[in-house]
């Protein structure tokens, strides 16, 4: 029985915190709002690659560290606390997706992705379909070994550095992730200008050519590879939302102790302190659900969606509440451009509707519960 960060994980966490506090300058997030998108300097990104962060969850046989998924989530949470760009999430998720495949081509791409030679980005969300890996209007058609991909993807991350996309699409009656080079004929990339100024784009795919070798996991493993990648990436976005929640609470709590009105610190007023207590509760429940999602993904990746959805639904709501509380409790100064609170709010809002909003994830859980009821009724009849 062990359900907390291990001493190794705590050591990694401290090293990450120290590294980011020395190397990452939050003012980049503010600059990007006017002249975006957010950038990570090549030197800084290279240091991150050299430290092996991107391969942290990748199996050891493929050059990764093979650490448990909670370590990745913890890394992302720490990075989000200082609003380090979500390229980290995206890179970890692509690495995890590629790690699901055994083909030599994909293993080579993974190696190249981990060392920074070729950045690979996932393309999942769509404007024309509901959220989730099973809802794709983007369609792949195969004839023999060759195929064509047509459709549209939105909010695709890191298009400024990506050289390959893994595009979620419908292939026959199943879902799949299909590799497409960013310069493939028929592919148009349009930046989307999100409120958090991170680099996300729309992909327009018109008869983009691919071969069976570009299908992650091959014909038989495609569906599982897509689903696992989606669950893992979603969990990392939940970790990011938790990091934002933690920082929102930390800065607001500090402000409530230091800001005086009516000759008292405002944190002594229950209208203020009780709202902060609610945020604390949101954060602790969120952290618990995140650990639960990591454990489910680790132990039974193909049945982890209820726990993954629980964390994402809760943290989408919690991060939104926490950042709104932060703005409100800072009063007038909280509503200014100068204070960092709106940066947190922007990130929370962006990720709350990314890879499924709270309602979508509750819908997934609702369907799971309805399914449970049906199967227990069938069981009872037998």
């Amino acid at each position: 029985m062990e359900f907390q960060l291990s001493s190794d994980q705590l050591a990694i966490r401290d090293a990450v915190t120290k590294f980011l506090s020395e190397e990452w300058d939050l003012s980049e997030r503010r600059r990007a709002l006017d002249d975006g998108p957010v950038k990570i300097s090549d030197t800084l990104w290279q240091q991150i690659l050299d430290m092996g962060w991107i391969g942290i969850a990748v199996s050891e046989g493929k050059g990764g560290s093979g650490l448990e998924l909670l370590t990745s989530a913890m890394l992302v949470e720490e990075a989000a606390q200082v609003l380090f760009p979500s390229r980290l999430c995206s890179a970890l998720a692509s690495a995890y997706a590629l790690d699901q495949c055994e083909s030599a081509g994909m293993s080579a791409l993974l190696a190249s992705h981990m060392t920074g030679k070729t950045f690979v980005a996932l393309a999942v969300d769509e404007a024309n379909a509901d959220y989730g890996p099973e809802n794709n209007s983007t369609t792949a058609t195969l004839s023999g070994e060759e195929g064509l991909l047509t459709g549209q993807k939105i909010l695709v991350p890191d298009t400024d550095v990506a050289e390959h996309f893994l595009v979620a699409a419908r292939l026959g009656d199943k879902g799949a992730l299909i590799r497409v080079a960013t310069d493939a004929p028929g592919l148009t990339i349009t930046p989307m200008e999100r409120i958090d100024a991170q680099c996300v784009s729309e992909l327009e795919l018109k008869d983009v050519a691919f071969s069976t070798e570009d299908i992650l996991g091959g014909a038989d493993g495609a569906q599982a590879a897509l689903h696992r990648a989606y669950e893992f990436w979603t969990t990392l976005i939940s970790a990011d939302l938790l990091g934002v929640t933690t920082t929102a609470l930390k800065v607001t709590n500090a402000y409530a102790k230091e800001r005086h009105q009516f000759n008292r610190p405002i944190g002594s007023f229950q209208a203020v302190s009780h709202r902060l207590a609610d945020v604390k509760m949101d954060e602790e429940v969120g952290r618990s659900l995140l650990y639960g999602a990591c454990l489910a993904l680790q132990e039974r990746p193909d049945e982890s969606s209820p726990q993954v959805s629980a964390a994402k639904a809760w943290l989408s709501d919690a991060a939104t509440r926490a950042t709104e509380a932060a703005l409100q409790l800072h009063g007038g100064i909280g509503y200014t451009w100068e204070l960092d609170v709106h940066l947190l709010l922007r990130q929370a809002r962006s990720h709350a509707v990314y890879l499924g909003d709270a309602d979508y994830h509750r819908k997934r859980i609702g369907a799971y519960l309805a399914e449970q009821l049906k199967s227990s009724a069938a069981e009872a009849q037998r």
Partner: protein, 398 residues
Amino acid sequence: MDLSFSEQDEAYRQKLRNWIADNGDLATRTMKGIDDQGDRNPIQAMRDWQRHLYEAGYVGMSWPKAYGGYECSLTEQVIVNEELARTHLPPTINTIGLTIVAPTLIQHGNEDQKKEHLKRILRGDDIWCQGFSEPGAGSDLASLRTGAVVEDDQFVVTGQKVWTSVGPIADRCVLLVRTDKDAPKREGITYLLVDMKSEGITVKPLRNAGGGSHFSEVFFDEVKVPRENMVGELHGGWAIARSTLDNERSGLSGVVALENNFKKLLELVDAGTRGGKPALEDPKTLNQIAQYWIEIEGLRYLGYRTLSEQLKGQKPGPQASVGKLFSSKLRQAMAKSALEIAGPYAALTKKSPHVLNRGRWVAGFFDSLGYSIGGGTSEIMHNVIAERVLELPRSVED
């Protein structure tokens, strides 16, 4: 990360399951109110049940062997809590004795007091109640006014207590009294052990909003309490009371109770309709149900985090204190949803021939309202989190 129990713990769980299976008849008999003598006597039946549980090794698990306990491991305690909650066995009748009085005596009592009371608490021989709250001292407990005057080798107590659970059937009472009116309010309180059969005690059952009477008012009119029944020092009672007021029960057994509630709610949804269609096809209903599932999962994992820390000998982190606030809110939300799904039947009493599930949902709704008041209101729990976890300045000066 690893949520599994050791082989040894799993063997222990199996032994417990066997005991439960072997004692199914005893449990059924207890629930019908039949005691060991075969007489219909619900209180005696519950005492007998607790004694059987104790003799089997499932009560007083964490207590020192010297006072009748078993000194079991924390995981064994968790297993017992989980299994007992899961199988709907009768609860232990002497909850206050087990969770408040005994830990207080183990920590602060003298040798005579421990010898006299602990084993009897375990066996259900003495049922204890708690005389803390007063009409004028609820959330502000330290302003209590029930007074005790020291006369020779005894205290003479006069005053009134309220919200006293199991008052009408209790044999003994832990009582907070004011022994120094002039001292600052936390420095003039003394902690006493009182025999409920003493002359001058009157217990009046109080009905709660739902119509039941689980608590009572207790009046003290010059009640004589021997001096040896004082726990700790004269005027030193507040610190003693505080040390066990925060005694959190293992969060995980509360989660099993919520899971049981959730299962019943799910059955109601499965059978119910919304807007003329099966409730299971109603997106809003499914959305709510999913939210409750998420929150119960959250509480469960919160409990595992706390347990994991305790197993390593660490003091539970801040997540432990959010459990009560969070679960009472959740319990109420689930009870309200049940009434929504029950629809027009939600407003019927248990006596109505049309009542749904024998009135379980209405009873559950009223029951849920008590959770955000008893044992510290949600407003006070917010203060506790704000002051002790977030270290914000105190909102109340006194």
